[in-house]
């Protein structure tokens, strides 16, 4: 049972009840849901800007040159991408030709973009080759070999795998690096061969890239720094590299008790491992590419309560949208926190929130202590800003929703 009696653990200055009505970034949420008339994702532009500023402040304190790329795969809603561009605080991290085209559609220039992906097809590589000012981080000898044929002379990056990783707790589904061999990046034993091959194919290696996990919070910064140190060892073997992309993976709290990431501690770890002092005077541009960290807690999914009914020992609150709209809670065990948009009088009650999909796993939250709700009420599912709409499915033809940027 989740402790959700006030003050709610997720409450913050721009996300709280005021006179019993839930507001995000100053926007009263209930009427937005009524106007949409169907499942609605809302994203606070101000929250995203604030997160970008926090990142910039923390990275500025390192004294190192840096750039931020938003990992578009977390949320590709076009007004949100345009908002990020308008801040001037981040480019985009891309992982497919489709994402590249969308980034350009939204007004980003190739210089603002960073491309990193594995298992690229010949067709993928041809499109990348045509975008001559795009930095591509390749992650296999095969890709180096094939890209060299298409784009000799092109500067590239290499994705490395330091063999260590961190993630949301011990979530095996989100393991990108670590003990077991993953599909990502070049391991230490192949790195020399990769450098030789790139040289031979006339692809000057100017950047390294690593991504060692997903959703790390304060308690994982130590493990993350160890991975960073292992990554820095690759850097020493590649003296022509000017930029080190240390990936994303910065997480946000999902549950009461989750300790927020201290960006200062995170940035100091970067400084300890990658500053000129750490690298014998060498000055490296640090690149980071957060996704979840920038958008997840800026978003909520607003659903209507269809059904409130006791089945045997369990009070089910049925909603007009299911896990297919935001798969992380059921598939990755990363819950979206439920909160009624208007508080009713009465005691909180232990309920199970379920969606409208004919699948047993279609449960938003189990044994949740929720303020009272009735059929027709609107419930917000918080933390639905990242890997939610972007991963939605039209399962059971129940995939219809709207999105709105709150500005």
């Amino acid at each position: 049972m989740t402790a959700s009696s006030p003050p709610y653990w997720w409450q913050r200055e721009d996300l709280k009840y005021s006179s019993g009505r839930l507001a995000l970034g100053g926007h009263d949420l209930e009427p937005l849901a009524r106007c949409a008339g169907k499942p609605l994702f809302v994203y606070s532009a101000a929250r995203i800007s604030r997160k970008l500023r926090l990142l910039h402040e923390a990275l500025s304190a390192t004294g190192m040159p840096f750039r931020v790329f938003y990992a578009m795969k977390a949320n590709r809603f076009q007004p949100l991408l345009c908002h990020i561009r308008s801040t001037g605080l981040a480019g985009l991290d891309l992982c497919s030709p489709g994402e590249l085209q969308l980034a350009l559609s939204c007004g980003f220039r190739q210089e603002h973009l960073s491309f990193t992906a594995g298992n690229l097809s010949a067709a993928d590589l041809e499109i990348l080759a045509r975008h001559t000012r795009l930095l591509c981080n390749l992650d296999s000898l095969s890709a180096i070999r094939r890209f060299g044929e298409l784009a000799p002379g092109r500067e590239i990056g290499l994705r490395i795998n330091p063999g260590r990783g961190v993630g949301y707790g011990d979530n095996e589904r989100l393991r990108y690096a670590g003990g077991a061999t993953t599909k990502f990046g070049l391991y230490e034993d192949a790195f020399g061969e990769a450098l030789d091959l790139a040289r031979e194919r006339d692809l000057p290696v100017r950047a390294l890239h690593m991504h060692v996990g997903s959703g790390f919070l304060q308690e994982q910064v130590g493990a993350w720094e160890e991975a960073l140190a292992a990554g820095a060892a690759f850097l020493r073997r590649a003296p022509d590299v000017e930029r080190f992309n240390i990936g994303g993976g910065l997480g946000v709290p999902h549950r009461p008790g989750d300790l927020e990431l201290d960006l200062g501690a995170w940035a100091r770890a970067i400084q300890r491992q990658l500053s000129p002092k750490a690298l014998g005077g060498r000055r490296i541009e640090v690149r980071v590419e957060p996704g979840d960290y920038l958008v997840k807690d800026a978003g909520a999914l607003l659903l209507e309560v269809n059904t409130v009914e006791l089945k045997r020992d369990t009070c089910f609150v049925g909603l007009n949208g299911g896990f297919n709209l935001a798969p992380e809670p059921v598939y990755y065990d990363l819950p979206c926190q439920p909160a009624p948009c208007i508080l009713r009088e009465g005691d909180a009650r232990c309920v199970t929130l379920a969606g409208n999909i004919n699948e047993a796993l279609d449960i938003w939250a189990r044994d949740e202590l929720l303020p009272p709700v009735e059929e027709g009420d609107i419930v917000a599912l918080l933390n639905a800003g990242g890997y939610a709409s972007a991963m939605s499915m039209n399962h059971c033809l129940r995939g219809d929703f709207l999105e709105r940027l709150l500005v």
Copy 2:
């Protein structure tokens, strides 16, 4: 490691190598993939027809009246739906207004359809009310109350939950009924109230519905019969009911060693529990609504090998499509069996097949003993006919694919 040396466990008369080329329903698969030029799902119409005939034969042997409804949520590819209609052997099982509209678009009549869903919104119920010849199985007191206001006099069904369930092994993600309380159906303790409420709201209850699990095979028929017996107890309390929809859940083998479902044994269990002899002379129409059973092993996803590369201790075979095209292998642990479309000379090799999505879990098969493949080859992922394209996501903007009905 999967034993996949010939004869392959999945091989059958209409799915096998001939002169080293894999054919499904007599169609050579490799050129189909080349023509598509992108991920391609293929579905054998003949295989689906055969499965329907097998079902009809088994159910005919019971001597009971019966009807088959294909669970459209498994695969809603329109040519496939039209093929099923053209056989005359099945109607459709639906779970959303969108599925209802699509069924009608494909030429099905309301009389050919069966609707069962939970947590229905007011808008959903209004659409159902307008389709006056559609049988709707309601699964909560709330839905009975609300539907009664919209459609008094309408004959309905009730979805019950006998509190027992079976599924693909012990897969918790696919538990529809059983010990723990699920969101589905009316439990025994609420059934009397549901019948009273339906009477009071002038909704004659003419059908019962239950669905107690997913993907059961031969060894689970016993447990399934117990659930059926528990369901029959509800039937005795509802003397006006004429039809009993016993749901779907019939599975297909996914791994070597999985024992195929014996439809004869399954039908005999139905006969033991629901024949006039078992029900004191009462004659009930049996309705079944298989999804996977009809389409899963009729389908394959054809992908191209982009990359073959040893990373540390693991040989990765990278494909031009990821888990987002067919989420069951990673999210439900129900693998799609890989098979090269053209056999090359040489020994099988232990490989890990990975997709092109930047997610750690994007693995099609681990430690698979696969005949040799090279970059550019086409690999078929078998058993991709159900809950594959229907649940696909456009994650990373890598959701593009084609589908083709093989006739």
